[in-house]
Amino acid sequence: MTSWRTPVGVLLTAVMLFPVYWMINVSLTPMSDMRKPPSLIPVNPTTEGYERVLREQVPYLGTSLLVAAGTVVLTLVLAAPAAYSLAKLRPAGRRALGFVLLVAQMIPGIIMALGFYGIYVKLGITNTVWGLILADSTIAVPFAVLILTSFMASVPDEVLQAATIDGAGPWRSFVSIVLPASRNGVVTAALFAFLWAWSDFLFAATLDSGGRLQPLTLGIYRYIGNNNQEWNSIMATAVVASVPATVLIVVAQRFVAAGVTSGAVKD
């Protein structure tokens, strides 16, 4: 019954990931061949790019992980209680707040970065990892609040009323009922917070370009000179950067899938 889906799924994924494959292809192509008529596999593969990247970039991986993980934690800590309140406690002024969240996301990233830079310089906290985490979280927090609100809204009110009758306060309802029931939303929000922080370049470049601990996206700029870009090293950095994150996501997705089915059984 489901057998046809696997080959079709593989095919669709292959189509979707073709540009990624092309990136890998370019990362292995020597400079002189880059603008030759394209070939589907690198004809004279060079590992020059990778040798440089592995030599120069590996320490940055740890920083990227730290920043991304920190952003996930900060985002969820801020967004989950707020979403619960907006979805279930429905205080006055919640529509206005939802509205502010929407507008907040619309501020151009570069203006956000400039604003943070001004404040950070005054407070003397440029080039710190946690400063970068705080800035990166601004990409994810409004999204997380909105998405979690829509997930938490679908938790039936009757369940919560029953809990209140049993004497559960709002905090206990939140922790033991709403949060577990909207696990999919939590994982979705966490996933995107992670991805955004992982691939952020703008905040890193503005706020952390002099730091001792720099994320991987800044490493790419080593290969972009004033007049010259070393494309095989740039692409190799991107490949190296995406491997650990891909593994993490594949593992996380399996965990989510398991969570979903067990949740369904409970229903």
Binding site: M34, Y117, V121, S209, G210, N226
Partner: protein, 404 residues
């Protein structure tokens, strides 16, 4: 209910942040013991010759150095912001057309007050840093544009590179190359400063002036004819100088307009190459724009700090130190005596030294910050003409009309 208190508290919180910020930004009196140096060379790591030179110069001035490298396009806005917060770096290495903008912003110290001397530098290279008779900073070196050619492709088409003396002979060469089944020329006409940079040798080579864009009509018609005749690929409209170089590196192209910085890559290209100056319309060498950075001293709250920063900047541009930096960057030195050393060490640099001597600063002729206002309509006109949206003459006329 929480009617009013919440907003008030919020405002108080915001106020607190702002006031804390205001307190901590009070300028510190006295000279710091660590000096910051910003440059646009992220490719140079802490172990590079360039960074060692900076540290050496700091040691000579008796201070520690904290060096930061930024991407060149980020550096301008970064410096403006830092100056706004009164945390500008002590020494700033910055792309030459930006100098006049930073002077306009009041960020830079003139050499006479910072204790810098650009006296040894060729006057055409200092021009980009001269505003209203005052010079700001010293060029660390210079690069410019010329025509690279592929020896095998030209030989196969029966073209002698020495015969390319003016636009007519260049066109004749391109026609022969095309007839021989190869590709003619590649360059960059992208809609950014890079596009204007590449167009200027032809524009100036036609005898045109930046204050009268339609006077460069012949240059734009030349470029357009190359596309129409199939001498140049359509991709030039979106090419950066790197993309254009990659096209040349395939070995299919006869000519490429590109810069001094590609010399290192040219040796790796795997075919024999040569370099000729860009010809003027009726012969001679066309003036190409100068590229390369200036070492400058930003304004500080303290005179002693500025003086010390001036000493570091002088040290960085001193003839004995600058050779290493120029070699690493594949730049031509801005100082004639050092140029001689470079040529005797590497004879193939002679053509570049010649090109640099003929080169012109983009912000020179006292254009200063008027240059960016002209350059943007100019690259727009180039794009409009090459894509066929407008005729070359009309495109330049419209561009001139939009210069304010």
């Amino acid at each position: 209910m929480f009617p009013a208190p919440v907003p008030t508290r919020l405002l108080a919180a915001v106020g607190l942040v702002v006031s804390v910020a205001a307190c901590s930004s009070a300028p510190t009196a006295g000279t710091p013991d660590t000096f910051s140096v910003w440059d646009p060379y992220p490719q140079f790591t802490a172990e590079s010759e360039w960074v060692r030179t900076i540290e050496k110069c700091g040691a000579e001035a008796g201070v520690k150095i904290q060096r930061q490298a930024y991407d060149t396009t980020d550096l301008t806005s970064k410096v403006l912001l830092a100056a706004q917060q009164r945390t500008a770096p002590h020494v700033l290495v910055v792309d030459n057309p930006v100098v006049s903008t930073l002077v306009e912003a009041g960020v830079l110290k003139p050499n006479s007050e910072a204790g810098l001397d650009a006296g040894q530098v060729s006057p055409n290279l200092v021009a980009a840093g001269t505003v209203d008779g005052q010079t700001y900073g010293v060029p660390i070196g210079a690069n410019t544009l010329a025509l690279y050619y592929n020896k095998a492709v030209l030989a196969g088409a029966g073209v002698d590179p020495a015969s390319v003396k003016d636009w007519e002979s260049l066109n004749a060469a391109l026609a022969k190359v095309k007839a021989a089944g190869k590709k003619g020329i590649t360059f960059s006409a992208i809609g950014t400063e890079e596009g204007s940079f590449q167009f200027l040798p032809w524009f100036w080579g036609a005898g045109a002036s930046l204050t009268d864009l339609p006077s460069g009509r012949a240059a734009l018609e030349l470029w357009k004819s190359w596309l129409d005749n199939g001498y140049a690929p359509n991709s030039v409209v979106g090419n950066t100088q790197t993309t254009s170089w990659q096209e040349f590196a395939t070995g299919e192209y006869a000519f490429a307009e590109n810069g001094t910085w590609q010399l290192g890559n040219a040796k790796k290209a795997g075919f024999e190459y040569g370099v000729i100056p860009i010809p003027g319309r009726t012969g001679g060498t066309a003036p190409a724009p100068t590229g390369g950075e200036f070492v400058t001293v930003p304004v500080q709250d303290n005179k002693d700090t500025e003086a010390k920063a001036g000493r570091i900047a002088s040290c960085l541009t001193a003839p004995d130190k600058v050779l290493a930096a120029d070699t690493a960057l594949t730049y031509i030195s801005a100082v004639p005596s050092v140029q001689q050393q470079q040529v005797s060490a590497q004879p193939e640099l002679a053509v570049w030294v010649e090109a640099v001597k003929n080169a012109k600063g983009r912000t020179g002729d006292n254009l200063g910050t008027r240059y960016p206002r002209i350059s943007q309509p100019l690259w727009g006109a180039v794009q409009a003409a090459l894509t066929g949206a407008k005729a070359p003459e009309a495109a330049l006329r419209d561009a001139q009309a939009s210069v304010k």
